[in-house]
Amino acid sequence: MAEYIYNQNDHTLSCKFAGNLNTDRSLTLQPEIEEQITVRFIAQSDIRLKVIFDFASVDFVTSAFIRLCVLYVKKVGREHFSIINSNPFIKKTFKIAGLDDELNLS
């Protein structure tokens, strides 16, 4: 469903998504992401985990997925969360939602 790459050197979890992140997919993805993050937290409780959502291949997001983003930025902290490689239309969606800064979207 998504590709998760963990870099042990800088404690960064990259979550690569693709296509249409609609409500159904968000429901499926949430436990996956949750598991990935929880595992890292448990394994390295003394280290701050960085989470990156890579949107290079994402072309649509629903409010369900935006809520997921907000959930995880709260969980890992604003300075440890970012969304990268969004296309301009996705960027504008987050801009309109007023969340581009909070989610460190680029």
């Binding site: 296309n87 301009p88 239309f89 801009k95 680029s106």
Partner: protein, 476 residues
């Protein structure tokens, strides 16, 4: 000595009476007045331009002449055939008749950057809609503004307009302006100015059409004709030393065309600043306490600004180009600067470039204007969809393009609607048709479907929506 409330009461009472008299005028009488006022304003275009440049110390008087031409002749051309009095439309199929009614006293606030052209523009569209107008002159330009009002008023009266159809505040200060904004008899505020002023207009409780700042990104696509784009941008950004809020604020391009673009900018008289020079420039063009551009450099020439900043630039430099690393409050030159200074962004690819434009657009310029130079239709449309701008100008100098009538068929206007993003009710260029109430006379015509349908079915919970809709639309 009258207090501000008493001054406002008296002026507005006069305006209300004037408006009542004006409401009796027909289209022909109204148009005759508007024509005479346009002619008087147009005939005074040079005198008023020189007065404005001298009194404010801003801009270039020759360019202010052009602004006065736009504010009189082009505005007149755009409104002269509009129906704004009495019956303005009849739909013979539906029997619907539209009648234009004047709205009442308009309170027009004038910016120091256009102290005569905006006056004449606001007077023309207000008279065209048979409304009286009260002008609030800019604090730094009471004389030229007052002279424009006098010229227009005398012409209006000579053409038969009602007494007090144009009035001007005896002085300009925030408290007096406030009295007019919140006065219960003020019908509409036409506010052009800074963010605080526009916000005050919208908070007054009276209807307002307010236009605040812009932050116009201009994207130069790889499909653009670079020499043409540069020439066009220079003609816009140097116009009246950049005092038009629709003028370009930042050039954005892809890395692939950055070198030839910079080379062309330099070839055509722009000066590319070093990091050290940018640091010096930021200190004089931006007021950190207020978080906005410094009034000291608005509408000033490159020579003046460079000298103020302690920067040495080649003689004849037209625009200072300031390469920027990012956008936001920490990068003052990424914000609106009404002077011949342009931020410059080099993006790694097309998507990054467009995303920079989105950020610039949302940094204080939402709803205003955006600009693109390209010959790729898909990119032009994609860019347009992504900008939150009332006007997206294509291969056009944005200062002259946004006001309409020169480079496109936008309504000629010196008040540019910025839509909900700019807290406006419209994204259009504001004109006479925004200053009338349209009454719709609706004659009885029967909706046959409604009367043929058994309305008791609406109360039957056992029927599905499809069944009800199907019955309702049954064509016997």
């Amino acid at each position: 000595m009258k207090n501000y409330k008493e001054i406002a009461d008296e002026i507005i009472r006069n305006a209300v009476i004037s408006g009542a008299v004006f409401s009796q005028f027909d289209q022909e009488q109204t148009d005759a007045i508007v024509k005479k006022v346009f002619e008087a304003g147009f005939n005074s275009r040079i005198k008023l331009a020189k007065m404005a440049a001298e009194e404010t110390g801003l801009g270039v008087w020759q360019h202010k002449v052009i602004k006065n031409v736009v504010g009189t002749y082009l505005v007149y051309e755009s409104i002269k055939n509009e129906k704004t009095a009495g019956v303005i439309a009849v739909d013979h199929n539906t029997g619907m008749v539209e009648i234009a009614q004047p709205i009442g006293p308009v309170f027009g606030i004038i910016p120091v950057t256009n102290p005569t052209s905006t006056v004449m523009f606001k007077i023309l569209i207000t008279l065209k809609s048979r409304n009286p107008i009260i002008i609030s002159p800019p604090r730094k330009a009471p004389n030229c503004c007052g002279e424009a009002v006098r010229i227009c008023y005398e012409a209006a009266i000579a053409a038969g307009a009602p007494e007090d159809c144009i009035q001007i505040l005896p002085e300009t200060n925030r408290d007096l302006t406030h009295e007019f904004m919140v006065h219960p008899k003020t019908a509409l505020i036409l506010a052009t100015g800074g963010t605080g002023l526009v916000h005050a207009a919208y908070s007054s409780g009276n209807p307002a059409l307010g236009v605040g700042p812009g932050n116009v990104p201009v994207f130069i696509d790889k499909s653009a004709d670079i020499p043409f784009a540069v020439e066009s941008i220079i003609s816009s950004k140097t116009f009246d030393n950049g005092t038009i809020c629709a003028s370009e604020q930042a050039i954005v391009c892809e890395k692939a065309i950055a070198a030839p673009l910079v080379s062309e900018l330099e070839k055509q008289g722009c000066y590319y600043l070093s990091d050290e020079q940018i640091e010096k420039l930021e200190k004089v063009v931006f007021n950190k306490e207020k978080g906005t551009m410094s009034g000291d450099i608005v509408g000033k020439s490159v020579d003046f600004i460079a000298s103020l900043a302690g920067i040495s630039v080649p003689a004849g430099t037209k625009i200072l180009i300031a390469p920027q690393k990012n956008i936001g409050k920490d990068f003052p030159l990424s914000q609106e600067i009404l002077a011949p200074i342009l931020a410059f962004y080099k993006a790694s690819n097309y998507h990054s470039a467009i995303k920079l434009c989105i950020d610039l657009n949302y940094l204080g310029g939402i709803g205003h204007t955006a600009c693109i130079y390209a010959n790729d239709e898909k990119r032009i449309l994609d860019y347009s969809k992504l900008m939150n701008a009332g006007r997206v100008l294509v291969n056009t100098p944005s200062a002259q393009g946004a006001v309409g009538g020169i480079y496109n068929n936008l309504h000629t206007s010196l008040t540019l609607g910025c839509g909900s993003g700019g807290k406006n009710i419209t994204t259009e260029n504001v004109s006479a048709h925004h200053l009338i109430n349209i009454q719709r006379v609706c004659r009885r015509t029967k909706n046959e479907k409604w009367f043929a349908f058994d309305e008791m079915k609406f109360f039957d919970d056992s029927l599905s929506t499809d069944q009800i809709i199907s019955d309702y639309n049954k064509n016997y």
